[in-house]
Amino acid sequence: MAMSSSTIVSTLPDAGAVSVRTVERVLREGCPLLNVESPPGAGKTALVEALLVSAVGVAGLRAAVIAPHAEQTYGLLRRVVSHYGPLPLALLQSAQRELPPDLLDDQRIPRPVSEPRRLPGVGPLALVATADKLLFESAVPELGKFDLLICDEAYQLTYSKLAPLLRLTKQTVLVGDPGQLPTLVTIPVHRFETAPHRVHWAAPRELKRCLPDLPTERLPVTRRLPQDTVAFIQQPFYPNLPFSSAVYGEDCRLQFAVRGNNSVIDRALDLIAAGCSIVCLLLPGENAPAGIVDYELSEVAAEVIARFLARQPIWQGRMPLDANHVGYADAHVASGEQTAQMLRSRGVPTDKTQVLTPEIWQGLERPFMAVKHPLSGLNRLSTFDLEPGRFCVMLTRHQLGCVIVGRESIGERLAQHQHTCGERPFGAENSEWAGWQAHYVLWERLREEARLIKLSNTYY
């Protein structure tokens, strides 16, 4: 059953203290390189904002903030201008790229510049850019040097992109979530796995490997996930980052205006309303279709979402929930599309209830999520399937509850999995083993806590 979060919250380490300490370490003590590790929904971007404003607005420094994707830089800009007073902001981006309409209309957002020579040469500056753009412009002398480089979502950035930027700055702060998906590299990386510098790794991961004493701060709480979820995901996905939930139990209560029909799906939804924030619905493993598209599972997922909406959910003390507050995550585009079609056939608008892959769900949140277990229906578990970051992203998007749909055979497959340690280059880290461990620990935990609910093929 769900754990009481009120007692945990009262004994939480002070999350604000970490932010204060981070700002002090960077700005007053002049720490040259600081790694800030954060669980999902811990307020990473709020910390980046506060650090940027303290550095530029108070200390009068020249600072650059980079993020892997343009959308992330826009999100940061939106937040900075809406939360803080005027700052000497600049946005460096390609001339071919357009600002989103809301930023174009906002007078507080500076017009983007595409060349460093158009940037203010002296004085405090808060430069916002994608990592790629800053990297390409870093050979231009007019860009100058920075007092501080802040890298948001640093775990999505390869070391090959960050390393050349370190010459531009006296201090660097990396802020990121170590449990998320690894950086995207489009080629087989076994040749780089044993190199002296793992340029394809996420920048903070490689820096931690090279500098075991790398100064690190850890954000101790999540403001998104209920404590019940944290109890499931912390150990498998964040073994080196202890954290708790800062959400009080009464702040994450779900209620349904319409009573359940006593079906298995409704009983699962009632469990979520009772505070069990993660529930797994399992179809029989026998005769599961081969391949990534599983029609029966897609039907279950669509039915879960349709029933959730049909029962008129209410986030207690906040708002009634609708299709905009629900999401579906699937590791495969084709399989997700199948579910989307089934959602539409049940009258659920998929422009509101978004069906996305974990790669796109990163950074987003919804009160209620349904996810397809990435190991469902697989006969052999590959390194790709076992990647823990993918499942971690899927299980950390919800604020109230998450229903996993899968096949009963998952536990059997995990138990039978033959680990091919001989396939990895000598000296390389064993990511497949780490992935298997994460999946196994989570599955066992779900089983022990009676969160695995079996469905028959004729469940509705």
Binding site: A70, A163, F192, A290, E337
Partner: protein, 471 residues
């Protein structure tokens, strides 16, 4: 259905028809030059030492080299191989052309690579052998680059182009694979393939010959007279020659089978860049060496090059190969679109937006994804993606290339692909050069620089920052 299902149904269909089926409509390598070199090896089982080599121009009688005692330290027997290889490669360098070397299977690549490692900087070896080592390493290093056009490994190429009615593991045996490509009349290729798979196709002698050679070698060690030794050695030579001749004919058969697939060559506009890159790299590796990159800047540049080459290959396949394109469409990476409207305030000028619709179920695109038409005439990126009426998707597309002449008309339908390549390595090189010059201590020396405290800052920095907050 997913790619796995397609692969499985392809194998079932091939099994039913009793022959291999093509899975590409174009060749992934450019046509062989007039003079194509081939190398076949016989190695010692479990030792990876060469005991016989057949090499030369394909279509001619190869030079055969046999080594009586492959475990001995001397390697003078390899000198003719070194000369032949050098003559071939030097001829091509001097003509500024791209050589082509065929090997039968990945096992031969491993042997070639080990020869390279053994001799490229071996002080006890002759200059000729050191050069051979360097050339072998250069060829194997080049083989690691996606889309390279120098080293053609027959079994790998065949598996890229066809699907058979047996499992992928069984396909690894070149002889078994060929049984499906050139099926014998009246013979089930599955049975023929199983029969052939009992004969090694991995640069090894068959068991009977291997045992005989081992026995003769033991005998040779005990020979007391030179005539007796000569006779034993000639028996060894004959057995090795038979073995390597078998490997050579396997190579020739596989190469012929490959070109007889009758696929179209990829247009030169998509392959010329791959060829040029291959030629330049090979020249660099042979002249400078193939020391693996180990410093941050060289590793980063190598990673960029691999990624760029992989993108070029993908672009070529998406644009030229209809079968590959269909697989990409199923994965949502090729999209059939219809132009619904064009928003261009000033005709022929930027900005220009296209409103596109597609009824394709699977799309692997999102706002910000670059797309181009298959003919490359229009290019741009997705501004927004929304659901339209009747299950269609509506794409707001910012047109960047093709704003004037190539601009599509309303109602026009075409395919768009998500492989848009940009060669930005020259800019990255400049960036890495500066990094190398500045040598940041964190990157090059695993050492943190000194802290730079700012004691003059007021207390309560975060509070002061919060003071600037509107909240």
């Amino acid at each position: 259905m997913g790619a796995d299902f397609d692969l499985l149904s392809g194998r079932l269909w091939s099994r039913r028809l009793g022959r291999a089926l093509p899975i590409r409509s174009t060749y992934s390598v450019t046509p062989d030059p007039p003079e194509t070199f081939g190398i076949a090896f016989i190695r010692v089982a479990g030792e990876e030492r060469v005991q016989a080599v057949a090499c030369g121009l394909i279509g001619t009688r190869p030079s055969v080299i046999t080594i009586y005692n492959p475990l001995a330290r001397g390697a003078h027997e390899l000198a003719p191989f070194a000369r032949t290889l050098d003559e071939y490669l030097t001829g091509y360098y001097s003509r500024e052309q791209l050589p082509r070397i065929w090997l039968a299977h990945p096992a031969a690549v491993t042997v070639l690579d080990l020869l390279g490692y053994r001799y490229q900087s071996n002080r006890h070896a002759s200059d000729e052998l050191r050069m051979m080592g360097q050339q072998c390493r250069a060829l194997c290093e080049e083989a690691t680059f996606p889309g390279q056009q120098v080293l053609a490994v027959a079994s790998t190429l065949l598996m890229e182009h066809i699907i058979t009615g047996q499992s992928a593991v069984e396909d690894q045996h070149l002889g078994a694979l060929l049984a499906w490509i050139n099926p014998l009349k009246g013979c089930d290729p599955a049975i023929e393939s199983q029969r052939r798979s009992l004969i090694p196709a991995a640069a090894l002698l068959d068991q009977a010959r291997d045992k005989q050679v081992e026995r003769l070698r033991r005998l040779a060690r005990k020979c007391t007279s030179s005539s007796e030794l000569e006779s034993t050695n000639s028996q060894i030579r004959a057995l090795l020659e038979e073995g390597v001749a078998q490997e050579w004919s396997l190579l020739e058969e596989a190469r012929a089978a490959f070109w007889q697939l009758g696929l179209a060559p990829a247009p030169l506009r998509y392959t010329s860049r791959l060829m040029e890159e291959s030629r330049e790299r090979l020249r660099y590796f042979v002249s400078v060496g193939t020391k693996p990159p180990s410093r941050p800047h060289s590793l980063a540049l190598r990673l960029d090059t691999y990624e760029y080459m992989a993108a070029l290959v993908e672009e070529r396949d998406a644009c030229c190969d209809a079968l590959v394109r269909e697989r990409m469409r199923k994965a949502g990476r090729v999209i059939a679109v219809r132009v619904e409207s064009v928003e261009q305030p000033t005709p022929g000028r930027n900005p220009c937006r296209l409103i596109l619709t597609t009824d394709q179920a699977v799309l692997r695109v999102r706002p910000g994804t670059w797309l181009k038409s298959v003919d490359g005439r229009i290019q741009g990126w997705i501004v927004a993606l929304a659901e339209g009426a009747g299950g269609k998707r509506r794409i707001v597309f910012r047109l960047l290339k093709g704003v004037r002449k190539g601009r599509p008309r309303v109602g026009q339908q075409f395919d768009m692909i998500d492989t848009v390549t940009f060669d930005l390595r020259w800019r990255k090189r400049a960036v890495y050069k500066l990094m190398r010059q500045d040598e940041p201590s964190v990157v090059y020396h695993n050492r943190l620089p000194q802290s730079l405290p700012r004691h003059e800052l007021p207390n309560g920095l975060l509070d002061l920052a919060e003071g600037k907050s509107w909240r």
